[in-house]
Amino acid sequence: MTSVIEESAKSQWADQVPERPWRKKPAKLQAAIVIGALVPLGVVALINATTQISGAILMVVIYFPIQLLSSALAAWFVRGTRGIGDSFIIVTAIGATIFSFVILFSVLGSLIVRGAQALWGEDGFRSSFLFQNNVYINPSTPLDYGGLGHAILGTLVIVAIATIIAVPIGIATAVYITEVRGRAVPYVRFFVQAMSGVPSVVAGLFILTVLIVSGAIQQSAFAGGLAYAILMLPTVARTAEEVLLLIPEDLRTGALALGSTRARVVLRVVIPAAKTGIVTAIILGVARVIGETAPLLLTSLKNDQTILNPFNAPIAALPTYIFDNVALPYPGAVTRAWGAALVLMIIVLILFSLARYLGRDRLNKSR
């Protein structure tokens, strides 16, 4: 016990593992666990061999309760009534873990299997699917013709517009909180948090009513980018704030002592020092919005052609392309939707792993 107390006095408990004495398992308990795990499996195998109940139902309706019961019995046998609660928590927690794994792998697996049908044909990789647009395509056209090149370009244009608008404002908000430190800091924090809860469809409605219905701009990539910017701003601001807080105070005081102005401290010292973190903030902001569909349905509509002018015409994007193709009663169109979904998911995954990779150093440093 003394060592435990010394340890907790020595270090912050941020990186300290809590003592977990309940994990010391006597041999008797281990034997009971093995028996408690094997018996339900045997029962289920027996039922599976003799009857025709489908797998998932068998696991949830029969295996799970039996497993709960047998673990409880085993724990009661070893540790008395005190063990029953523990066994219940452990079995259900493992159940919840398996549940989340099943969901995630079902989503990713179905994306890969069905999306690959769009991306790979009999002649190998279909680059046409990635690069062509949808102009002469109807839902029953073979998959070898037409693709989502226009949608990828559209997404890029819309996200670029959102980034150009949201990133400077987001970083400025973070700079206000961490560098300017005016009186309104708590309020600004509060509003940024409140803004991060705005539903995406409401952001679309806002742009629709203020700019499109009033006739200021058309339904176009610019309108979609503005709606995306509303969703992106809080993510960028909050992540950038966290990053700027990690910059050591000595850097600022040092630069001030050398005679630089405050603006110069921020622009030449603090922001360059937080460069990777700010890139992470931008990436997370892009990843946050890139799959949003509802605002685009209201602001940028859809288009089968490749549009690069962001102001005068509706434009296609990956999410809206998926949306349009899903519900069509043609297997080809549905396969296109899966292909587009796979491309979108790959983009999101790349963005997230990039943010993880860049953020890794920062996390280690902050320890």
Binding site: S8, V17, P18, P21, W22, S54, A56, I57, G83, D86, T92, A93, T97, S100, I103, I169, A172, T173, Y176, I177, E179, V180, R181, G182, A184, V188, F191, V192, A194, M195, G197, V198, P199, S200, V201, V202, F206, L208, T209, V210, L233, R238, L245, L256, T261, R262, A263, V266, I290, G291, A294, L298, P319, I322, F323, A327, A341, M345, V348, L349
Partner: protein, 321 residues
């Protein structure tokens, strides 16, 4: 972790300055920082105007009737408002226990490596765009859920919430709520994992030395200690669920009737989904105004839920640091 400000440091920190360039810099940063306020106020005002129009032309019936016929003065969003809440509640029933168990597993049970893998798995779940989740639910979850709901109705149909007269088990609130649960689990889990992980080891050790088992330790130490944070996380998830549009669009059959409690009966409502669904076939300016008004009430609801959530979570000290 930065030190608490001493007198000297506070002097250096204060933004007051006589340098002209600095003043311009400070002012422009301040102006940018208030963008979020301007946007929030803009949403409230511009959608609020439409809400006033809707309430003037339709009366309070706009909030409390269910049919959607703009030619007679009885178009309302009650079914949708109630439907949104019903879906969120179904989602919470699945997501809250699952998330708490997941975070217990990550914090107290899993070996370190597995815990790190689980954290990544949860973050990955949060990264799935809702349209992809909708696509998955439409093609993969629907057939499975249909069978499950059929069995639920067959064996537990005597319970009122499991009644189903139509024999159609697709487009039910249950499926939509399940999809919402999948979207809520990562949010709730990441907050409650952090909160549970910060239970002071001394408290855990003390509980253990008093003879607590894992169950009693959780019940009397860890969960009460992290209750505020967990509730805040649940509210954050609730805000997300209320505003979710596209995933629900694919799995819920939108009907302008109030489906009070039959969660495995086909048909339900959701404000956000209704806006997108009706926008495609909007008949004129007046109907668009009604949709914008519906958007205002959606905004109001999610804003309130989110503010409460953030206040609770901040009070536990998570995001402030």
């Amino acid at each position: 972790m930065s030190l608490p400000p001493t007198e000297v440091q506070r002097d250096l920190k204060s933004a007051a300055t006589t340098h002209r360039g600095d003043r311009i810099f400070n002012r422009s940063m301040t102006a940018a920082a208030f963008t979020s306020l301007v946007v929030l106020a803009g949403i409230a005002v511009f959608l609020g105007i439409q809400a006033v129009v809707a309430l003037q032309t339709q009366g309070l019936a706009f909030l409390f009737t269910t049919q959607w016929d703009i030619n007679v003065p009885a178009a309302g969003i009650w079914g949708m408002l109630y439907g949104s809440v019903l879906l969120a509640v179904i989602g919470l029933f699945i997501a809250v226990p699952a998330s708490i168990l997941l975070s217990v597993f990550i914090v107290f049970l899993a070996p370190r490596r597995l815990a790190r893998v689980m954290t990544n798995v949860i973050d990955l779940m949060a990264a799935i765009p809702s349209i992809i989740l909708g696509l998955w639910a439409f093609y993969l979850l629907n057939p499975v859920a249909e069978e499950w709901q059929f069995l639920l109705n067959k064996y537990l149909g005597w319970i009122p919430i499991f009644q189903n007269d139509s024999g159609n088990y697709l487009g039910t609130p249950f499926i939509a709520g399940f999809v919402l649960a999948i979207m809520m689990i990562p949010i709730v889990t990441s907050v409650s994992r952090e909160v549970l992980g910060r239970t002071p080891p001394d408290l855990i050790n003390a509980a253990e030395s008093l003879g607590c088992s894992l169950w009693t330790m959780l019940r009397y130490v860890a969960i009460p200690y992290g209750r505020g944070g967990i509730i805040g996380g649940v509210m954050l998830g609730l805000g997300r669920a209320l505003g979710e549009t596209i995933a629900v669009f694919f799995v819920l059959k939108l009907v302008f009737e109030t489906n009070w409690y039959r969660i495995i009966e086909s048909g339900g409502g959701s404000v956000a989904t209704m806006i997108v669904a009706k926008f495609g076939e909007v008949s004129g300016e007046y109907e668009l105004q009604l949709l914008l008004a519906a958007g205002f009430f959606l905004f109001l609801g999610t804003l309130i839920v989110n503010i409460i959530a953030n206040v609770i979570v901040n009070r536990t000290g998570r995001l402030q640091r």
